[in-house]
């Protein structure tokens, strides 16, 4: 019996990795320009390696980061609706990026740093608001998240109203999630965060499994509940902060991907976390391929595609469960 489930999990892992490789190759093969791969001209080489490849790889990292952050937050808060967006983490990162853009024009390190700081501050604020003398309950935390999210949204709206028209245009696009600004340097940064975040959160998976039963039970089993909570919040902030800085707000990924993974393999976080990383990468690379090619040579924002797929799928899952 145990062996059978193990076999099944290995099969799913192999399948997912093969699917990721296939999807990445597919994404590299198609685009608004048709490339002749056997005889690459200098121009086509530039298109493939300078434009398409960084974008596909960044998309994979963004998908992995958001999915891992979502999976960990859902386990920690014992709420399948928990998502970076619901908790204000994404909006904190978005506001941080926006401020970096307004005050430090550069695209360099200011953006991810400010995004991470914004995500961290938002998470900390939610955490502080949710904490009470009686400890922290999940309802209070989710409610605090909603309040912080809407508060930050209003600041973002206020800022976009105050910014001049040219900046407004790029921001409204960016807020919907946009991978077109991918560079190979930006990719390394996001990759480093994605890998580090996935590893750190995978190490917390066992503790998260126990905490899913209940924080008191987990505490009785020797889990340092407070420490796990801080690690998960910090790692999620880094993951979300770096992705938002690189690609804006790509919605629904952190919600929908861990859900599907749990449907397939159950809720053991030691598997849900890494499997979510791979599945999230597949999901976003596919969605961005649609965004790049559907109305070529024009482009759609990838966030619109993920939301378009994610929202109905989510409603379906919600009705079914």
């Amino acid at each position: 019996m145990l062996r059978k489930t193990l076999d099944r999990r290995i099969k799913i892992a192999v399948f997912l990795l093969a699917a990721l490789a296939a999807v990445v190759l597919l994404a590299l093969a198609v685009g608004s320009e048709r490339l002749s791969f056997f005889d690459l001209s200098e121009q086509h080489r530039a298109i493939l390696f300078d434009i398409r490849l960084p974008r596909v790889l960044l998309g994979a990292c963004v998908g992995a980061s958001l999915s891992v952050a979502g999976a960990a937050l859902q386990a920690l808060l014992r709420n399948p609706l928990a998502e970076p967006y619901l908790l204000g983490v994404s909006n904190g990162a978005a506001l941080g990026t926006m401020l970096a853009f307004v005050f430090f024009e550069s695209y360099g390190f200011a953006r991810p740093m400010f995004a991470f700081a914004g995500a961290g501050i938002a998470t900390f604020a939610v955490y502080q608001m949710a904490k009470s003398r009686a400890g922290m309950n999940v309802e209070r935390l989710v409610l605090s998240g909603v309040i912080v999210t809407t508060f930050l949204s209003s600041i973002i709206v206020l800022l976009t109203s105050l910014l001049d028209a040219a900046k407004l245009r790029s921001f409204t696009f960016w807020l919907l999630g946009d991978l077109s600004q991918a560079t190979i340097d930006g990719f390394y940064f996001t990759l480093a965060a994605a890998v580090a975040g996935t590893i750190i959160l995978s190490f917390q998976a066992k503790a998260l499994n126990l905490m899913m039963i209940g924080e008191r039970d987990a505490f009785d089993f020797g889990v340092e509940v407070g420490r796990v909570r801080i690690i998960v919040f910090a790692a999620a902030s880094v993951l979300v902060g770096t992705t938002v800085a690189a690609s804006g707000s790509v919605g629904y990924v952190g919600l929908i991907v861990p859900h599907l993974v749990r449907l397939a393999i159950g809720s053991d976080n030691r598997l849900v976390v890494p499997f979510s990383a791979v599945s999230g990468a597949i999901f976003v690379v596919l969605a961005d391929t649609v965004a790049r090619t559907a109305i070529a040579p024009r482009e759609l924002p990838v966030g619109a595609i993920t939301a378009l797929i994610g929202a109905p799928l989510f409603i379906y899952l919600l009705k079914r469960s």
Binding site: S32, I47, I51, S180, P297, R298, E299
Partner: protein, 296 residues
């Protein structure tokens, strides 16, 4: 002109001292305005520029925060930025007509104004002819017919001077071959350009260039970077705003960047379908020609 006059029907109203007339706007709606308009509000910088250009600027009682040209326009009370007009300010100014353009996407707001009993006149310029037509329409609206027609005529002469100059200089076949391939960059990141529905497409082509994105749908599409790279333009025109000072990185190996053939145009001139559009046309034509010289 005959057609425009035909639209103007005198209808005296019983019990009302001010005579009104019906005028037809670009959407084909009949708008009732007083015989002589003394209080008008413009909700677009292009309309403000046109109204001043035909000599009716003194009859504007409200404009938008973007209406900064001519300098006199800055002294007029601001009733909105173009995105969110302030209905209270507008009603308080008691205008006889509010002028809007479809370019500002104020369709919903139009209804609100009309519910307040305020006449709304809509212009919809989609090309240079539309700008000339609007000038004549505004001349009619503000009783400045002669001045508006003169202006429209002199502007259209400047346009044909530019286009004919292009054609006379060399035989037509050579013109076809040598016309520079132009990319128009509206914003750098994300990469926005102009497509077939933009009035700037006509400007570029009239100035003697071939717009490489002239078949792309919509007016201001966000363009795939791979396509942008593959288009390999010979000249890049930048809308010279803060976030758009340099050509996008994908153009670094294009002939445009390698040969330094980058033209920067004041964004106010090319974002407002008004009289100064011709200034932009002349600048682009001049710089395209300068760039063509063999010494480059």
């Amino acid at each position: 002109m005959l057609l425009l006059n035909a639209c103007r029907t005198e209808l005296p109203q019983i019990g009302d001292q001010t005579k009104t007339r019906g005028v037809t706007d670009d959407l084909g709606r009949t708008v009732r305005v007083p015989e002589r308009i003394e209080r008008a509000i413009s909700l677009a910088p292009s309309l403000t520029e046109m109204i001043f250009a035909i000599g009716a600027g003194d009859r504007l009682v409200g404009v938008t925060t973007y209406c900064d040209f001519p300098p006199e326009a800055q002294a007029i009370q601001k009733v909105s930025d173009t995105q969110t007009p302030n209905i209270e300010n507008i009603v308080a100014l008691n205008p006889e007509v509010v002028l809007v353009t479809t370019a500002s996407q104020l369709e919903a707001f139009m209804k609100t104004l009309e519910e307040q009993g305020i006449a709304v006149y809509v212009t919809n310029p989609t090309n240079l002819d539309g700008v000339f037509r609007n000038l004549v329409q505004l001349g009619d609206l503000f009783d400045q017919t002669e001045r508006a027609e003169d202006l429209a005529l002199s502007l259209s002469r400047r346009v044909s001077y530019v286009t004919h100059q292009k054609n006379y200089q060399r035989p037509p076949a050579a013109v076809q071959r040598e016309r520079p391939r132009v990319f128009f960059q509206i914003s750098n990141e994300p990469l926005f350009t102009i497509g077939k529905d933009s009035f700037l497409t006509e400007i570029v082509e009239s100035a003697g260039g071939v717009l490489v994105t002239k078949n792309v749908a919509t007016a201001y599409p966000k363009l795939s970077k791979e396509t942008a790279l593959a288009l390999n333009p010979g000249v890049i025109i930048l809308s010279d705003s803060e976030d758009n000072r340099e050509p996008n990185d994908v153009f670094r190996n294009s002939p445009a960047v390698k040969n330094g053939r980058v033209i920067r145009v004041n964004p106010d001139l090319i974002s407002r379908p008004g009289p100064r559009l011709i200034d932009a046309l002349e600048q682009i034509a001049r710089e395209l020609q300068q760039n063509e010289s063999p010494s480059e």
